[in-house]
């Protein structure tokens, strides 16, 4: 029987994105998740992970970000926990798409994409830890890995 859940830790450095991708691929293969869903989930996880790296830590110490991936009842769930400064991505305002090109910024786009691709995103701060729960319905008719 395949495990419904995996947990791993990523260090607070960008090169860990490779490991994030590898872990997700292995998990997705085991659960035959559709390719498009894997792409979208990978993007959501990367956007949140890089936000933690950019805004979460004022020191130069090593920190570990805990990630749990699970599948239950056609739903993919990712839980990301970090000990950075409080950061609630669900409170980030939507980017302004109407402004001219010269004023367009990429800030906020990651969260915008994440909101689009996920079915829900829930944030809580508990015991000095940011906990973000991402949920996405899996399209069981789509092509798997």
């Amino acid at each position: 029987m395949s495990s419904k859940k995996i947990t791993f830790k990523l260090e607070n450095k960008l090169s860990e994105l490779k490991r994030l991708h590898q872990q997700l691929e292995a998990f997705a293969k085991e659960h035959q998740l559709p390719l498009k869903d894997i792409f979208e989930i990978n993007l959501c996880l990367e956007e949140h992970f890089t936000n933690i790296l950019s805004h979460g830590y004022a020191d130069r110490e090593t920190h570990w970000i805990d990630i749990t991936l699970s599948v239950e009842q056609e739903k993919f769930i990712a839980c990301i926990e970090d000990d950075g400064i409080p950061f609630n991505p669900t409170a980030v305002p939507a980017p302004d798409f109407k402004c001219p090109l010269e004023e367009r910024k990429v800030g906020g786009l990651g969260v915008h994409l994440t909101r689009h691709y996920l079915d829900s995103m829930a944030y809580q701060r508990r015991g000095g830890i940011n906990i973000l729960m991402m949920t996405k319905k899996i399209d069981s008719q789509a092509e798997g890995v």
Binding site: E46, E47, T50
Partner: protein, 110 residues
């Protein structure tokens, strides 16, 4: 990620192979800046072999668009997988960037 570059007349073409994420996009950004510094004003980015991109990739594309516009140049993107194109659409980038189905179509835009 692998980045291949070639020139077709005055058009500088980048072919991206692999993943354009927060980890790899600085390398691409540097190559684009080099090309612009050497006089490239008309540019095509071919996404045929691109498997993945995140907002870090969009950031480089936006910067390139602005830089080329300032020089009265132009950027055209081509050959994207549907799910990659969707990222551009959700971000509203398709409103200011020409995206074509094939590389030949992209070259006709100049």
């Amino acid at each position: 990620m692998q980045i291949k570059e070639e020139k077709q007349n005055a058009v500088h073409i980048f072919r991206l192979d692999g993943r354009l994420d927060s980890n790899t996009s600085p390398v691409f950004e540097e190559k684009v800046s080099d090309a612009i510094a050497k006089g490239a004003k008309q540019m095509v980015i071919d996404f045929e072999k691109l498997e993945y991109l995140s907002s870090a990739g969009l950031r480089v594309i936006l910067k390139t668009t602005k830089d080329l516009k300032r020089l009265e140049g132009k950027l055209v993107l081509c050959s994207m997988a549907d799910y990659v194109r969707e990222v551009f659409e959700i971000s509203g980038f398709d409103s200011f960037l020409p995206i074509t189905a094939t590389r030949d179509d992209a070259l006709k835009k100049f």
